[in-house]
Amino acid sequence: MTALNRAGWRPEMNAAGGADDNVTFTGNRALMLEEPLIFEIGSTETTGVDFDEAASAGDLGGLARSAPIGLPGLSESETVRHYTRLSRQNYAIDLGLFPLGSCTMKHNPRLNEKVARMSGFADAHPLQPQETVQGAYAVIHELAEWLVTLTGMHSVAMSPKAGAHGELCGILCIKAALEARGEDRRVLLVPESAHGTNPATAAFAGFSVEDIPATSEGRVDLAALKARLGPDIAGVMITNPNTCGLFERDMKAISDAVHAVGGYVYCDGANFNAIVGRVRPGDLGVDAMHINLHKTFSTPHGGGGPGSGPVVLSEALAPFAPLPFVAKQAEGGFRLIEEESADEQHPQSFGRMTAFHGQMGMFTRALAYILSHGADGLKQVAEDAVLNANYLLRSLDDVLDAPFGASGPCMHEALFSDRGLAEGFSTLDIAKGLIDEGYHPMTVYFPLVVHGAMLVEPTETESKAVLDQFIGALRSIAMRAKNGDPALKSAPHFAPRARLDETGAARKPVLAWEG
């Protein structure tokens, strides 16, 4: 690490006047360490990997890559330090409460990491002869059985790569089912409170999207929904529990009404963690629901993926599920159903969504999580998640406006609005204030149906002591926002960075190192 960090202290900073006693030569502040880019400290001649053998120059003629590529290398010691220093600029669930509503940041058990790295799983090729990967098929099948049983559904498509990919899977099943019936229905009804992926998925699959209105208590307006139903409706996409943190009381009635006009019910299962082991979506008339293994079943979020989005399906949609899938054979063992066997085994499949079998590394982790909890533990997961969220809701609703606080208990997340804050103070200020208190903020400005929304999801893996301290911190910040404390407007003060210029980033995008 020889180069001075451009991001840290620079001579002109002090030259500009104003002796800031907190400025250090390096830009570091004790354990808060600045770190340059690899492009500033590495060299294209350096490598951190030793090879045993020399290599020939190659004989590729005009295709040989002769021009410099510009990829810097570091020694192993420098590499470990670079990424370790970067890691320390991240908040993470391992550091504390991470109450991002609808994202379900719960503890990630390390057993699951160990299991996923067993060589039989981590070092197996997706196209190995089937007789050499029966254990991998067994994992997929065992997890599939759990998902089907926990949801009370008919079957499950395991290959979708993340939640939004699972949505696409479910919606394509609906499209294929309609085609099989010879019907061209074009409209999907989606509540305004839905995740953005819902309308984006519907549009990606060629449907037009219409909003379903909500009642004043934050649930789908059943009467308005029924009034819109007709022969052009392909189906609905409902999130349950919904993004206001409420259970859709009328879910069964919604399903029945949609089915009565020949439509299908897609359920966004992002919030399944609130009801796992206590409610089976199959009992509510759902036809398709994706399950985010990285939410309900605690595979790590990894700073933005990988996810995994298996889709449970009703008997009506199961025939259209994508390829490939694992089938248990009567004579024992498992067989992969792919294009070649689909004609006899699964003739109505809508096709393949991804190259291989899905997120195997997430399947092993999710199965280890499920087996660790068992049927009794999963039920406790839902109950504790809901208990923690209601505890937060009722411990904060005297200082923060809870727009649906009178709508009954919340499920796994508590929703607040920015109502009552001092003039000029916003949800963003509360979020940034939480950073200074040592927390990751809650989800902000979502769902869109609530002004300045703050969606708080504690999850079941937090203790009462942690919640009590968080409640204290959030109450303190809420009071500062109500009283117009100007210091809150410039928070965070103690993070590796102050508020960043996102407008400038978008106006003149710098997306790659240009040095």
Binding site: G73, L86, L111, A138, K161, A164, K252, I275, R278, P492
Partner: protein, 452 residues
């Protein structure tokens, strides 16, 4: 339950604060007919760490791990040596257990890493910009086709027969529902690509031409002329790279004029993982950046003037644009992108070039040895670390017989192109730095025996 910290006393105290008599009160909105009273019947109860590890270990041992013996599979997933520090670093809790960096002040670690990843990918693929990753190569390929439609306002995509059949299959699935027209088919067992024919087939309705490099049969070719033909006709050239290590040795698609370059990044850092999670690479010319799918990280400054990074251009994305978004993708492959980036940093340009050259040398050695087996020939004139063998008999049963001898000897074209008898005798063989000379000798001897 070891992951649940609430005690019975905690639960009672919290219910009292809430004003609920029991936990069931909190589920009162669930209709009675959908309420479950006890644990779901027929499922086992919770288990200790020891018991779960034992169960999963038994399942893992039912698989033949690639490293347990000679191994020659590729066809879209490659086995490379991953330095130990990669897996150590991605298990840092601050990376592993962080979320998408929505709060940039406390996510600079992930954001700076993504900026470095984007920069590395753009340079490797020879383009101006790259995004923060997609699910995998196959889904990135489809997203590129859709992006070309948005840019050109045309909907006919010409797919080279050399594109991975599973990638073509994904595109065909999606095109059925989006109205895109795909022209595609299976490859011929020839040393040359179909790129000249593709150039001739471009017309005024063509949105894009999609080629794979190296292709599914291991062939490499110069795409300069094809890129010029695309440009002349107002179509885009999309190049798919499923083995990024190759680009340490052969020209990048962007250098040869490709407009969009997508790929599978699994080769670096990620490992085989039985097909996922992998990391989709997505890169393009700067002028198309606002039509890209997925997350983008950009450089900016904070309120004190310090450099920092944020997710940017999010007005393309579903959480802002909803049904008008460029894609529905939300979660990507952040942790796999980190693994890719660390491995690439360890290699550096010098290491990558050397690794690629070693792969190529080893593959040439294997091709020469295998071609000595009676009745066997190498189809390719040119290749990187993967080539197609032509056997005197159908390759698929041969693969199974080799597996009985504990040799995983490649991917048969019968598996990749089922039902296409013209390809049945083809066997795609990949040879990376993990393959030893002894492995090659064992493979050649076994193949000779099986074919005798």
């Amino acid at each position: 339950m070891r992951y649940l910290p609430l005690t019975p006393d905690d639960r009672s105290a919290m219910l009292a604060t809430i004003g609920a008599a029991s936990i069931d009160d909190l589920f009162a909105d669930v209709p009675a007919e959908a309420r479950l009273d006890g644990p779901i019947a027929g499922l086992p109860p919770h288990a200790s760490e020891l018991a779960v590890e034992r169960h999963m270990g038994a399942l893992a041992r039912r698989n033949r791990a690639a490293g347990d013996g000679p191994f020659f599979l590729g066809a879209g997933a490659y086995r490379h040596h991953v330095p130990a520090s990669v897996d150590h670093l991605i298990q840092r809790g601050e990376f592993l257990t962080a979320y998408t960096p929505y709060q940039p002040e406390i996510a600079q670690g992930t954001l700076q890493m993504l900026f470095e990843f984007q920069s590395q990918v753009a340079r490797l693929l020879g383009t101006d910009v790259a995004n923060a990753s997609m699910y995998d190569g196959s889904t990135a390929c489809w997203e590129a086709i859709v992006m070309a439609r948005r840019i050109t306002k045309r909907a006919k995509a010409l797919l080279s027969t050399g594109v991975h059949p599973h990638y073509r299959s994904v595109a065909r699935t999606m095109a059925k529902y989006t109205g895109d027209v795909l022209v595609d088919g299976d490859p011929a067992l020839e040393a040359g690509t179909d790129w000249a024919a593709l150039a001739a087939a471009i017309d005024k309705d063509t949105s894009c031409v999609v080629v794979q490099y190296p292709d599914i049969l291991g062939r490499i070719d110069d795409m300069t002329a094809l890129a010029e033909a695309c440009q002349a006709a107002g179509a885009l050239l999309i190049a798919v790279v499923t083995e990024p290590v190759a680009l340490g040795l052969i020209k990048a698609p962007g250098e040869m004029g490709a407009d969009i370059v997508v790929g599978e990044g699994q080769s670096l850092g990620v490992g085989l993982q039985f097909g996922g999670p992998y990391v989709g690479l997505f890169a393009c010319k700067a002028k198309y950046v606002r039509q890209m799918p997925g997350r983008l990280c950009g450089e900016t400054v904070d309120a004190n003037g310090k450099r920092g990074f944020v997710l940017t251009l999010s007005t393309r994305e579903q959480h802002i644009r909803r049904e008008k978004a460029t894609s529905n993708i939300c979660t990507n492959s952040g942790l796999c992108a980190l693994a890719f980036s660390i491995h690439m940093t360890l290699l550096g340009e010098a290491g990558l070039r050397r690794l690629a050259a070693i792969n190529h040398d080893r593959a040439k050695m294997a091709a020469a040895e295998l071609a000595k087996v009676p009745g066997v020939s190498v189809m390719n004139d040119s290749f990187f670390n993967e080539f197609t063998l032509l056997l005197p008999a159908a390759a698929r049963p041969v693969v199974h017989t080799l597996a009985e001898k504990d040799i995983l000897g490649g991917v048969s074209l019968g598996r990749l192109f089922p039902g296409n008898d013209a390809l049945a005798n083809g066997l795609v063989v990949a040879v990376t730095e993990t393959v030893t000379e002894d492995d090659i000798a064992a493979f050649a001897a076994a193949l000779k025996e099986v074919l005798a």
